[in-house]
Amino acid sequence: MKTGKTRKKRNILEAANVIRSKNSGPFELTLDIMFKDRHYYDLFRKERVITPAKVARMYGIAKEDVLKVIYFEPSLAVKMTIRRRIPSGAPGDSDIYGAQQHAPLLNITF
């Protein structure tokens, strides 16, 4: 193993055991990542692996459409809330519950 700088990037699945998306009301989509243990939670938090700018980039949306990124220690989780592309159930919506919008998060490396 080399020093930290040249260390091979690892995939999020090594650090997390729950990655999911769901509506929070009809206008918001909320994304959760729950870490396997405190070590990963602290690491992600300290190294700012997930920022509003990064969430915007992953989803190809404007930075204003990322409402917040919040770390929640009791469940070793980080929560990201973004704007839904269409309000839930309106014509053209593709995912009423917002339950299948999490896949881009599976590409996170750290």
């Binding site: 729950v18 769901k22 509506n23 929070s24 009301g25 009809p26 206008f27 918001e28 909320t30 959760d32 729950m34 992953m58 989803y59 190809g60 949306i61 459409d65 409402l67 917040k68 919040i70 929640f72 009791p74 469940s75 070793l76 989780a77 929560k79 809330t81 704007r83 839904r84 592309r85 309000p87 839930s88 159930g89 309106a90 014509p91 053209g92 919506d93 593709s94 995912d95 009423i96 519950y97 299948q100 919008q101 896949a103 881009p104 590409n107």
Partner: protein, 458 residues
Amino acid sequence: MPKTRPATLPEFRILSTTAILGYGFPETSFRRGLKKRPHLIAADAGSTDPGPHYLGSGHSFTSREAVKRELRLMIKAGVENRIPVVVGTAGGSGARPHVEWCAEIVREIAREEKLHFRVGFAYADVDKKTVLEAIARHRIQPFPFGPELTAKTVKETGDIVAQMGVEPFIKLLDRKVDVVIAGRSYDPAVFAALPISLGYDPGLAIHMGKVLECAAIAATPGSGSDCAFGTLKADSFILEALSPDRKFTPKSAAAHTLYEKSDPVHLPGPGGAIDLSGCSFTDIGRGRVEVRGSRFVPTEKYWIKLEGTRLAGYRAVSIAGVRDPIMIKGIDAILKAVQERVRTIRGKDAANGRMIFHVYGKNAVMEEIEPVKETKSHELGILMEAIGRTQEEADSILSLTRSTLLHYGYPGRIATAGNLAFPFSPSDVAMGKVFEFSIYHLMQIDDPAMFKTEVVRL
């Protein structure tokens, strides 16, 4: 270990039957819960999750048969053992038609089981005049990403409901009813109202209600179709599952406050918010978790959440597969050209109605925010969604688009007999009315018990 509780507040026990009335629960779990001598049997019966259709149409998204089975068990046990039974957001969306749907089921159960009891109804409907006045008085607030509320929108909206807090429940329970059937309610209110009226801490009571409203979803393994049990004390509450294959863990209980919320620490509701920043979750053995430190912080003004939907048109859909690799390669340009051609054929009618293609195998789930741009599937599923001002208009847009796409001569085409594999005949389905959320706003009110209530003896 828990501290000795003050003698003035003995523990208050709640049996939560299921995450949404109609989602089901095993009778064995329910009986196990009853053996623990609950002071309250309660269930939340609704959600806006299934989308705007149900509030708009007045229909329930749960099955009548399932709701009746569950209510029969709950009401029989409640009336026979003198335990109040409380149900919130009756009928799934909690407007008057939904409450009446549920009330009819309750009447049938009383008749069939020869039970006599007092039912309290609380209606969540808010009349348009009240909302219009609130707009004029600047007492309406939108949610993030939601639009401002206008008088025009209020006029276009059907039934408007508000999520009631604990106050209407307390009002009914004070009148010694055996069963409460309420319209749209803040989910935790069905669990928290009675203990709050008895003097228990509202922060703990609402937080416990927040977990119990999803029944065993917050246990591990989680389930929305199994019961959960909560014990509220003076300065903590305890959660436990009621089937031997599940348990609550500090992580599962804590994780639940993330679910469907944009902020896990600050959870707003009618009249205030619960603040979980000082919360602790402790494993106390035998699959039980004890929670401490949840605080209720009242807001200066009392705000409630309004919900309403309006008609967005009528829908017709058709599903077809594509297996031709040349067509798959050119799919975006082909669909665009077909849209264009249909628009030309419809002439001045093209200003009305629209056609939306959902291309499964490409980006139908995430649409324009799908980061994977290169399609590698060897087959695609095309869901054609037509929206019109009438069903006839939607049907006609769909029919025209479907036939145009079927025979469209795209560049490089070698399969000249037809472009689509239809699984069904008929290929087109009329879906009826399409609703959209038009009101999802906060409204400031003066009297939290403003909701209409009535007590009926069965």
